[in-house]
């Protein structure tokens, strides 16, 4: 009889506990094997937080995720935590649907914002307020094939640092392999244009890159922009560059992995993938900072990737649970694991310290490249990168005009001018409703 009573009590306890569990939804855009990785992280969180249950869902690409979020918000079925890409930041702020994490931090004495990298925080701060929690942060770096460099008679420990050196290296390689290998594989993505602009400390739009007020026009038709367009156009004409179709990350990676292209600009989030792929395909690769024109002023690296947003309209208890989860994902241990598994750099100082002291970077220096590029960045509005609501459309404008330039329809100067005009139109149209 006693035994039965104990069993009954235990059952009751379990029942109440499971009933009391706060359930929160987490939507993310990290495809492939990263789906499992994030599911495991959420399970770890569930295990250490018995009163919260996080349900993870992969919701397609960044764009798909944002579209699903928009629909779900209008239908009143929004998730609690959602990952949104860098250029979605202004749209999210304007949408007014998020609970700014800055507010939640202020009410949480256990949380220390000082532990986070100031460069990352300053990118995600809008009007002085932190709306979302930095999670997967990246910037663009140069990948180069050391094996090919050696064979073509170039110094594998001296990656090109300037546009001029870069063009020369591409020429040497293409000539050496008689066109079977080209110097540069270009992923036709406006993100690289934006990164190369910041690297020269040049602005994308007015009002200090949108940091001191809503931008009213695009201003990237300047000397720095023209240098980038001309640099790409020269290599295309010389036949030392192959471009992919628009925003074709996989296609660009394959050019590099199959050793058809000796150099590639890509996100640091590819480092782990490239380490495996280069081993499988029997070549050595190195990473370096983005090249810039020799006479360009010092600039910096723009934060790319995504951040975690907490969506409002849920009961307080659920928002608090969501905050716990977001805190967990940005915590030291998770950030280190995420960094090692992908190449996105940690957004925390203590994570960087731990990695440094454990000798990790001595073993895997390519994991350090993007982080160093960020640390050595100038801290100004132009190097920090622009924040524009109409960014997705601006990207298409840049990409379409680059394609027209590669097709020989437009000169670099014309292409740049048209891209800027289209971007300004997009900004004005976006501003109409605000």
């Amino acid at each position: 009889m006693k035994k039965l009573f104990v069993v009954f009590l235990l059952l009751a306890l379990v029942a109440t506990l499971s009933l009391a569990k706060v359930k929160i939804q987490f939507w993310h855009a990290m495809g492939g094997w990263r789906i499992d990785f994030l599911a495991q992280q959420a399970e770890k969180f569930n295990a250490t937080h018995p009163d919260i249950e996080v349900q993870v869902q992969y919701t397609g690409s960044y764009r798909d995720t944002l579209n699903k979020l928009i629909v779900s918000v209008q239908a009143g079925a929004a998730p609690h935590v959602v990952q949104v890409f860098d250029v979605g930041t202004q749209i999210m702020v304007d949408g007014g649907i998020a609970v700014p994490v800055g507010d939640l931090m202020a009410n949480d004495p256990t949380f220390d914002l000082g532990k986070f990298l100031p460069q990352v925080l300053s990118y995600y701060r809008v009007n002085g307020k932190l709306y979302s929690m930095p999670f997967n942060s990246s910037n663009a770096i140069l990948y180069y094939n050391k094996t090919i460099f050696k064979e073509a008679g170039l110094d594998p420990d001296k990656p090109p640092r300037t546009f001029e050196e870069f063009k020369e290296a591409a020429r040497t390689i293409t000539k050496y392999y008689q066109g079977n290998v080209v110097g540069f594989g270009f992923n036709l993505h406006s993100w690289f244009f934006e990164q190369l602009m910041a690297a020269q400390s040049a602005p994308m739009c007015d009002n200090n890159n949108g940091r001191t007020g809503r931008p009213t026009k695009a201003v990237f038709n300047n000397e720095a922009g023209l240098k980038i367009f001309e640099w790409l156009n020269d290599m295309k004409k010389e036949g030392t560059m192959i471009e992919t179709k628009v925003e074709d990350w996989t296609g660009a990676r394959n050019l590099f992995i199959s050793q058809k292209a000796a150099m590639l600009l890509s996100s640091t989030s590819d480092v782990a993938l490239m380490m495996n792929a280069s081993k499988e395909n029997g070549f050595e690769f190195g990473t370096a900072f983005l090249p810039t024109p020799a006479d360009a002023p010092a600039g910096g690296a723009v934060i790319g990737g995504g951040s975690l947003w907490i969506i409002g309209g849920h009961p307080d208890k659920e928002i608090q649970a969501a905050w716990e989860f977001v805190k967990f994902m940005a915590d030291t241990e998770q950030q280190i694991e995420w960094h090692k598994a992908t190449g996105y750099f940690p957004v925390r100082k203590d994570a960087v310290e731990q990695l440094l002291f454990s000798g990790y970077y001595a073993q895997y220096p390519d994991h350090l490249t993007a982080l160093m590029q960020l640390m050595l960045s100038e801290q100004n509005y132009n190097a920090r990168g622009a924040i524009i609501g109409a960014y997705p459309e601006i990207r298409t404008a840049v990409e379409q005009n680059l394609e027209k330039m590669f097709g020989g329809e437009l000169t670099p100067a014309e292409a740049l001018k048209r891209a800027e005009e289209a971007a300004t139109r997009a900004i004005k149209e976006y501003n109409e409703v605000y």
Binding site: I70, K260, E403
Partner: protein
Amino acid sequence: MLPLLHAGGVSMRKLYPYLLLIPTFVIIIMFIYYPAGSALKLSLYKTSPFGNRTIYVGLRNFRQLFEDPEYLYAVRFTLIYVSVSVAITIFMSFIIAYMLTRGVPGTRIYRTFLFAPYAVSPAIAGTLWTFLLNPVVGHVNYFFAKLFGIQVAWLTSKPYAFYALIFATVWKMLPFDMIFYIASIQDVSLDIIEASTLDGANTMTRVWRIIFPLVSPITFYLVIMNIVTTMFSSFAIVDVMTSGGPGGYTTNMIYKLYLDAFTFQKRGPAAAESMIMFAIMLVVTIIYFSFAERKVHYQ
């Protein structure tokens, strides 16, 4: 008949069919008429991405579209894309169907192989052709390089991106038309064929003067179906193969609509574009029902 309905008498019997139709109507209204109505409403507004700000702009979305050179280009491109791919598909499917009804040994095997692309989803078809047409590691360029020593950037240069798109579209649409043609060619009475042979008609005359006119109702049906397919379902193939590039060169109306709605978050203009496509299809349908029904030769 249910006893309950008997009790109601004539009026209940009259209501009965409507009762049975209710579920269908509920679904049609929920998923077709209501969304179409909201699209019409949306086309008169400018909306912020999350819908928290809207301003009524009347017909300005439409006016802006007709002043937008990019949109006008997309309309022109759609016209060319639709007419070229439909014409090629109709012609080729008829020829192939005719050959397959000649009793060649192994007809069934050919038919199965030729029908296979229809079972492939447009997105998969696009991916498949993207692999084959890859400028660096694709099979098509491998053969071109071996045979003619040339390498073509099929998906990223003019005018090859257009050719590639047409090729993939025809490849995908052909089997559907072919099956219809096979069935209708087999339906053509043997007496007519025999009579024409006796009258001394050669194969060309027989095919184009007798069989082709006799299957014209099917041709009209297929033309309409193909126009609908190439207008609306070409999104996946365009997205996967060229993403509308290079430089917007292969951006057709449906892809432009997708870009505006789901990439640029401009719901108002996108809704206006869907209204324009609706109007075009309305015209096509009216032509079909008034013109085709009268002029087409029915057996």
